[in-house]
Symmetry: C2
Subunit: 507 residues, 2 copies
């Protein structure tokens, strides 16, 4: 209790050049008051402050937003979703390392990254020994707490105390001492409900009462519903063909409107006794428990919308024994994902005709959010599925392109593509067979002829394993940037004098 | 014994349209007489024959070569290295599915691929119960034997009988029944020395006496030695900085002259008590045991050069207890690779300035060999290292390019690049930081100015997270195909009539 101080006093411990590790994942369970106090101070004083910031995944505007606005994040890893920070990344003001989320904690433990100077951690409370009870996210908190020189705790009275017990903290030894992770079912509890911490490392405790700034839920549109319908039909057929058990295998689902629609679709399907082994729990996953379809959900963060959080708090007692929050080195661990046979469902920004997926880069150069956990799951799932609407920007972008402008998931890992147009099952197909499946089943009809034309031209002029016209491969992206659409138009350029009338037709 | 027949009689069981699964990995332990008899028959009769061929990895010319020459492989997975087959793949005559090697067996077990009609398996012998003693490779044999309707065994008297006992056969249940793989050290034996098989499934036994057609060893050149030196210096520094234990962690090494040089370099280094958790054992890895540096080697195949095989047979009794051959679903399993903290060392065809690696496609379209096990290891290793000579084709190709023409390993997984020029440590670096490290440390001096020029231009005109000039990104490959070199030349094109003298300078 002697350590209880104001957010401003705690923030005064943070010095220029430090590495700060914070709790939080998928804007939930992150510290709020101390980061805000630090940003305010820098704003007022104009002092020099450049920090390296480690998180679980995305954190709220109180950190990524406020810190980016005063320009104090020089380096950031492993994931973000904040618009101010994104701006700084794409302007070259913040160096961002976009990492597989399961790898971040072992990069710390292996000494591959600079040590954490101060960990700032949101907690429900602290035990007499100094152990920390996490709130709505576990993320990398246990790793940063173990690695940090000093720890600042924000005890957030806004978080429901009955969250205690939902966490299952189990961390990994470094090789060569690492043991098998003893999880064989989604619901296996293998650790403690608190994050082990030595009391003397805690240098300040700040009392707060601030809600997680989670994202409001977007309304489910017809396109998302069509994607969901195609995906669930695919899964039901897998059951029918005995390639999946009747209750499927544990589901991992990314976030966003398509993910919400898919989970809502599962609520209405005939499937039952489902489980989820995932990294974020959003509204529709809670609904899946409520409607009796999901019997157990393992995750590293609880991140319903503000309205969904209200409902969650009301139902917490009945939901609690069906939810486990694990450190992300467990929730996203390849070992467990491969063993359980997780079905990974994530969103692509764009997909190429050979099945490579871009999840991160707009037009190959600008960061959207990051790969997040999709790599951990896509590389190890029993079924790796990517969803995307077939078009974007009012039809001026085809999300199915000749070649993706950045690769996050390779042809070797991607098994199924689902758009509102249909489903392409890529398993056991060669690149050319994949191209036909993706173009004919998933591409928007407006772009199919243009894609088939590319494929045909490519087969005439290059190696026939993965045919490409290298000088045209990225032309769709270039055309969009130059003309505002990926659709082909014929433009005439006139060279020379008019009498001579030399023309070069540029498509 | 009643089942012993000639190769021709056994081959007569193979019918048009069948799926054939064979033993063998990295041309070793594959069946020889029956495939040759089949090819000979098709050559003589001209009968219609289109087969789907599953293997462990590459197999010898007796299958991939002879079958490709008579055009009977319509579909092939998951890996190959044969020149005739490669030709057919790149001509579009064979559909090739280039897969992560750990995934192939579970694709069979999950029913994702057509069932195996006939498995053709090389064996040292068969027990009374029908169990099969494998020879120099384990690969996917256990999976194909369990999955096949019928099994043909080639008992190869050319293989040394004292190989018996070297194999450790442990296979995986499908989810949700899969259990942790109980390997915590390279040398843990967890299974049987034979491949379980029901006697009644064996429909024919053929006696043969034919050596594995392994590849002769290339002489170690100065460039490979320089790469090896840089890599070992890097590893020794990791030990010094306490990021690796003194005896490192288990090493996985790809094949080829650089791999051989690296392992030879380890023999001469100060490092000791090493282990290898890998997929192929070549000459230099056996030397690593002989010189006392490696105390245990786990693999799925034994594939020394013809001369190395002679030496191996001589030393077999003393080497045997330091070698384990596992099914590739264990040797390449993400769970074990991540747990043991394997150091993965593989070869890149080309690397881009942001750390993406192409291992498979020449100029983006032609298949070289395939990803093999490099994906399984690169995605899960504690240290993921790629080596490449900085130039190829007498300096006309820079293996460091603005953007790779195909991505097999993404920026999210690649940690270290080593060329004969030096080492780029990409851990904790943003894309732009990686670009400078790779250009300055790894690129050939002839290409550095051109790469820096690209990076500079890209930073002026695009998103600054991963800067690219999309219309120039693949221009290095296009230039090579058009002019025979990636080096920039200035060519003048004249449009219009000469009087008007309109010029367009195209670089």
């Amino acid at each position: 209790m002697k350590k209880v101080v104001s957010a401003e006093v705690a923030a005064s411990l943070v010095k220029d050049g430090m590495v700060i590790g914070v709790s939080g994942f998928s804007p939930s369970g992150y510290p709020k008051a101390v980061p805000l106090a630090l940003a305010q101070r820098v704003k007022n004083t104009g002092e020099k402050m450049k920090l390296t910031l480690y998180t679980g995944a995305s954190v709220g505007a109180e950190i990524d937003g406020a810190w980016s606005e005063v320009g104090i994040i020089s380096k950031r890893m492993p994931y973000q979703t904040n618009s101010s920070l994104r701006n700084n990344i794409n302007k070259g003001l913040t160096e961002y390392i976009d990492m597989n989320l399961s790898v971040m904690p072992q990069f710390i433990n292996y000494g591959f990254l600079p040590k954490v100077n101060i960990a700032i951690v949101e907690a429900l409370g602290i035990t007499e020994e100094g152990n920390i009870i996490p709130t709505t996210a576990v993320g990398n908190t246990a790793t940063y707490v173990a690695n940090a020189d000093k720890i600042i705790i924000e005890v957030n009275e806004n978080q429901p105390l009955s969250l205690e017990g939902i966490a299952d903290i189990y961390t990994l030894e470094n090789p060569p001492f690492r043991k098998p992770i003893p999880i064989t079912h989604t619901g296996d509890r293998i650790g403690t409900t608190y994050i082990p911490c030595k009391l003397e490392k805690i240098v300040a405790v700040v009392m707060t009462n601030m809600p997680d700034k989670t994202r409001p839920l977007k309304a489910m549109d017809e396109t998302s519903k069509a994607i969901s319908k195609n995906l669930i039909e695919f899964l039901e057929n897998e059951v029918k063909e005995r390639r999946l058990p009747e209750n499927l295998l544990p589901i991992q689902s990314g976030v966003g409107s398509v993910a919400n629609a898919v989970l809502a679709g599962l609520c209405e399907s005939k499937l039952k006794n489902l489980t989820c082994y995932t990294e974020v729990i959003q509204d529709s996953m809670l609904d899946l428990i409520r409607c009796g379809k999901a019997k157990m959900v393992s995750s590293t963060a609880l991140c319903p919308s503000p309205a969904g959080m209200e409902d969650f708090r009301r139902d917490l007692d009945s939901l609690k024994d069906k939810i486990i929050l694990r450190p992300q080195e467990i929730s996203n661990n390849p070992e467990v994902i491969r063993r359980l046979g997780v079905i990974a469902i994530n969103t692509a920004l764009e997909v190429d005709i050979y099945g490579n997926v871009n999840s991160t880069h707009v037009m190959g150069t600008k960061m959207m959010n990051g790969i997040g956990g999709s790599g951990d799951f896509a590389e190890n799932a029993s079924l790796t599925i990517f969803t995307t609407e077939s078009i974007a920007k009012k039809g001026n972008i085809s999300t199915i392109v000749p070649i993706v402008s950045h690769v996050d998931h390779t042809e070797h890992n991607v098994m199924v593509i689902v758009t509102e147009q249909g489903t392409a099952d890529l398993r056991g197909k060669s690149p050319k067979e994949r191209a036909l499946a993706i173009i004919n089943n998933c591409a928007h009809p407006d772009y199919r002829p243009q894609l088939l034309e590319y494929l045909e031209k490519a087969q005439e002029c290059s190696g026939k394993h993965t045919p490409h016209v290298l000088c045209d491969a990225l032309s769709w992206h270039i055309r969009f940037m130059e003309t505002g659409t990926m659709k082909k138009k014929f433009i005439k350029f006139t060279f020379g004098n008019d009498e001579n009338n030399d023309k070069l037709i540029v498509s």
